[in-house]
Symmetry: D2
Subunit: 381 residues, 4 copies
């Protein structure tokens, strides 16, 4: 009997995957569910997966790793996809897939399954990450095998096989939320319909926000936010606080036509209060301390970086090398940024750094000796 790891969220579609893999294909299924900061509770998933016949059900709290290993590098790199999307879902994919691959290798599974349909962003990201980490693992997309094109197909399958259908999905908007933001994907006939107010989960509409601004101060160290209003914060806690503060002022909404990996266009609505505030603050600090030529060149690099993340090319030498580039540029991106949240905007009011170049006269240079590692090849000589 062959063994498969399944990315299991408890939704109807991954429930169908689990059922199909076990009963139709007769496989031993190991489910994996990750906490990346979504509001849903994961605890019941374990029981449900086992009830549906899973061999074992794994649940992991990945919030810390999500923040440290995936979100922070993007803050440092100032990465935004198509000038509006802070990559919340895209960034969680390589993390989850890496865990799935690890589990597959531990349990000796030759296969790995996910609940995406067709040739969309997620199935491409899945393939790119798995190929990079474990090229011999076979990828299965049960909904694709079943020929399910739409939620209606799922409902029919659930009825036919007596699967629990807790809540019928919203038909017009498909919402995905994690620590770094929410993604409201539109499905209706009029691509420009106004989503109902309750669609937004992280932000108030700017009309309903307080009449007085909120000021806050973010401390950065080497390009990474480390404190809020003078108090040190671990990344997860800092992001959660900024989501709360920014959301209350309607900060971080984006509503845009986005280009998928395949070139297909969709309307996407995003909420990302913390990401929006941190991006504005980080940029203002960079402008204060980095030389002009570097700032202008960086613009091109961050566009490429955003594409890599969006396309699921996280586990590439190119992404690693761009991170090495940014790690170096950020060595003096240390200081504090005062922001002002008001009516959907996060404006910067004051930036301070011991590395400030504001007083310098006319040089674009810095003082540092070349530092090529001599000992690299020394053992040869």
């Amino acid at each position: 009997m062959s063994k498969v790891v399944l990315a299991y969220s408890g939704s109807l579609d991954t429930t169908i995957c689990l059922h199909w893999l076990r009963t139709v294909k007769g496989m031993r299924v190991y489910t994996f569910s990750a906490n990346v900061g979504q509001p849903e509770h994961l605890e019941p998933l374990s029981e449900r997966a086992l009830a549906l016949g899973a061999v074992s059900a794994h649940i992991a709290d990945l919030r810390d790793r999500f923040a440290w290993d995936f979100i922070l590098p993007c803050i440092r790199a100032g990465t935004v996809y198509e000038q509006g999307y802070h990559l919340s879902s895209a960034l969680s994919r390589p993390l989850i897939i890496q865990e799935l691959v690890d589990l597959a290798q531990e349990e000796g599974c030759a296969m790995i399954a996910h609940g995406s349909r067709g040739l969309g962003n997620d199935s491409i990201r899945f393939r790119n990450c798995v190929r990079a980490l474990a090229p011999d693992l076979q990828i299965i997309a049960p909904l694709h095998e079943l020929g399910h094109d739409a939620p209606e197909d799922d409902l029919e399958y659930a009825r036919a096989h007596d699967l629990p259908v807790e809540s019928v999905r919203q038909t017009l908007f498909n919402i995905e939320e994690n620590l770094w933001g929410a993604n409201i994907q539109f499905r209706g006939a009029d691509p420009w319909a106004t989503p109902p107010r309750e669609t937004y989960r992280m932000t108030l509409p700017p009309e309903n926000t307080p009449d007085t601004p909120t000021g806050l101060e973010i401390g950065f160290e080497k390009g990474i936010p480390v404190s809020l209003d003078g108090k040190p914060h671990a990344p997860v806690s800092l992001i959660q606080s900024l989501n709360r503060l920014g959301g209350a002022h309607g900060v971080g909404r984006a509503d845009m036509i986005e280009n998928r990996i395949t070139g297909r266009k969709t309307r996407e609505i995003y909420e990302a209060p913390a990401a929006e505030i941190l991006a504005a603050a980080h940029r203002a600090l960079e402008n204060l301390v980095l030389e002009r030529a570097l700032l202008h060149f960086q613009e091109m690099v961050r566009i490429r970086y955003a594409d890599l993340v969006y396309e699921g090319h996280w586990f590439t030498l190119l992404r690693e090398s761009l991170d090495a580039f940014f790690a170096r540029t950020q060595e003096c991106v240390t200081g504090t940024v005062q922001c002002r949240l008001f009516r959907g905007r996060a404006d910067v009011a004051r930036v301070e750094s011991t590395f400030s170049r504001l007083a310098q006269r006319d040089t674009t240079m810095i003082r540092m000796p070349p530092s090529f590692p001599r000992d690299l090849t020394a053992f040869h000589l």
Copy 2:
């Protein structure tokens, strides 16, 4: 007696230039003053220049050319310098310099003078443009020759030579305004001081704006805005209307550390309501109709374009060639964009175009035959 064309704004510094060129250097001075949409009245300048000894005083209304030949290409190219500055002053320089050069050639002047000091943005732009248009023209910077470093030196010269000093300049903020935006340059000791409310001329503070949003619809044709709320508008009129509408909602403020051409950093505050609204609308329309690969490549091109404009490299083959590139990309950037102005934001609510790719499935391509000009070399054959 040698002849010189002077860029004359009526300000104290250009008044000193005129006086110095005529009395100290004994030159025949032809003044030129341009209307590029600034609020000051130009009519009195002619009389004043002649009273100060100018041979002749030219005044030209360049607003139409400014909009058609300089602002529209930048809208089309989606150009913003360091993600905040819509290049209002920088864009007016090549236009004015081209007129100065034309006048110099008509009047047989071998010299051309301006009121900038030192090696700043404006003197570099002046040199770059003059070298491109008329490399044999000699450039004179009287304030530099006089060793004037600050407005205080000007005041002393004015007193010593009994020159009219209408109004003492603001000492903390130096404001320059034209059709495309206002530039408030900071001079004080605390680089992060809050400018007094009256410093802002084009926009209300978001706190004081109406409680209800204003909706508007902009029509674009080949990347160029041509109508407002269904009514055709010439560019100048369209921009003036959007400045008024946007300013009333506090749209278009930016407050940033900017990198000058020489690499020196300064804090700059900008107001550009029309520019901000048009940029958001144009981008949303492009996202609807342009293929992904083009949109992503364009990002790099527009960064280069902004640098060229900022640095005064307008009269270069590179800028011309980038314009040829954008002229082609914009051929299908035709449609309407509905915007919503509220509390300092210009949000896009709906975009429509006959060239929309929103319904297309998965291609990044368009249908068009190759169109290389065969007849180009035909006469040789």
Copy 3:
């Protein structure tokens, strides 16, 4: 009975396609064969296709269009893929596919077939071009449907169906030649094996070339080569002459690891004497007449252009827009270049142009008025 257009070269694989489409699938097959400068005679193909049951057999001499519409833009853009491949095969694909699509539309065919296997460069280019030109056309790859992975499968099919097998393909090297170059693709076990001398068709080995150099002079007009040694030449004739002259001196060989569209690496050997000479001459002329900033920016653009061509993205707005860019940069790339062919090298000995900037002192500028098309929107106003 359904109708299909087949790209037919007379090779065993396209012969199998024809047989399979007609006998197994029972389709009405219209073959199309193009002369793009390959050495094989196309005349017999018509008879053979009809003998194999084709409804009609079309043969077209596309050499002129190949040169004018595909090769010249690449010369102008200075395009080389991965610094070694002049894109000879890649460039012929969109031309041939455009003809196939036209024929399909004339004959009312809903399908279009080609002889490539698997997910390689050619099948991706085919898909990209067909989707751009006629997204409703269905693409068929008979060898893929048949599960043929290697030439051995083809031979077996031929024997089983009594198809004529004129010459057994070379097993180690697969050669494709056209007007713009030859492509020797390696297949053996040792990826670094030295190909036998007769593998090379267009160039002599540098060891066997004459002891004395050959000098020649190429005239360019707006970036396009128009004359050889003072005599006007049409593009096809010029390229043929340079292939002959360069090949005799061993010019234009490249032997490299190349990255396919999918990222797979292969060793490829190229011969492209005319392309190599023209690239060196064109670059030297550009260096003489173009401003520094433009030359440096162009480097980035030409890398993107090469990728587009290599990937079969010819029929895109991005490629069209890059061509508009290059058309503008090349307006002063007019002059003559003297070259010297010797022992595998094409060196430039002298470059002359009325647009030479060699004597200019220190400006990167040119003199030209802005030329934004005012009449574009005039009819609105």
Copy 4:
């Protein structure tokens, strides 16, 4: 009496500088002369400088540092300026200037002097490097102060002050040679004159090279050449060997129109046998082991890197950050490359690496865990 450090090569122009600084300006002059691999003997310089009145005369053998800290990073980055110049002189400038600055600081000099004239490459590089390393040091260019525009002015000064004029400079070609290559700068009336044979010092003309090729094998470790024909070599020894071997086969000549920093164009002739061989070998190895997306992106980065080096922006955070990028991309650029030198060409015949991707099917990915430094901010938490 003020103190000054002078870059002293023993040439007539730096001899004049020394004389002028000491006798006309009455300064205490400390000379510094560096061995960066030029053929001239430096030993006599010390005696001559002291005879001319220098307070002290320093001579340093910088060949090892030149190779390790400046040449190796450029090999690793694959940097070539305008596709022809391996940056030999440009690379030596930051090294020498860093030593001059160190000496100035040790000796308590507030000034630093060099023998360049006008606003050329070298004086710009000098200014850029000094400003980065010691912005308070004052730069003096005695020949500029003296108004010497040409060698004739120097000769006249030498006669007037009875300075030793050992050899009159060549008037048509000005040659500068170091470990990494020779630079023959043209001065005559016909910009395309053929230089006399003896102008070339490092390479034979391809016509006079042996009839049989020389094969050699270079070993690379992390992008850095470490062995020749299986024998470990320190960088200086490896480069010297390749200069000798390559020069005997006429490898490494370039003859081009080059764009100076200011945009001015000059004809330049280069000889760089080792640089040419190493660049070809390094590129071939990269093509074997690096993923496609990285190779293509790198093209853009290396163009920027070459510009930085050419312009004397070595001591910038941007250059440091690009080095961090390349240090990461090169981690698997380890292997051996067989080359074949013949008639002016260095062709690659075989490349081998344990990181070869030649056999991989279709992935552009590599397997590596994300490696963001967690401990960076750990102390805060």
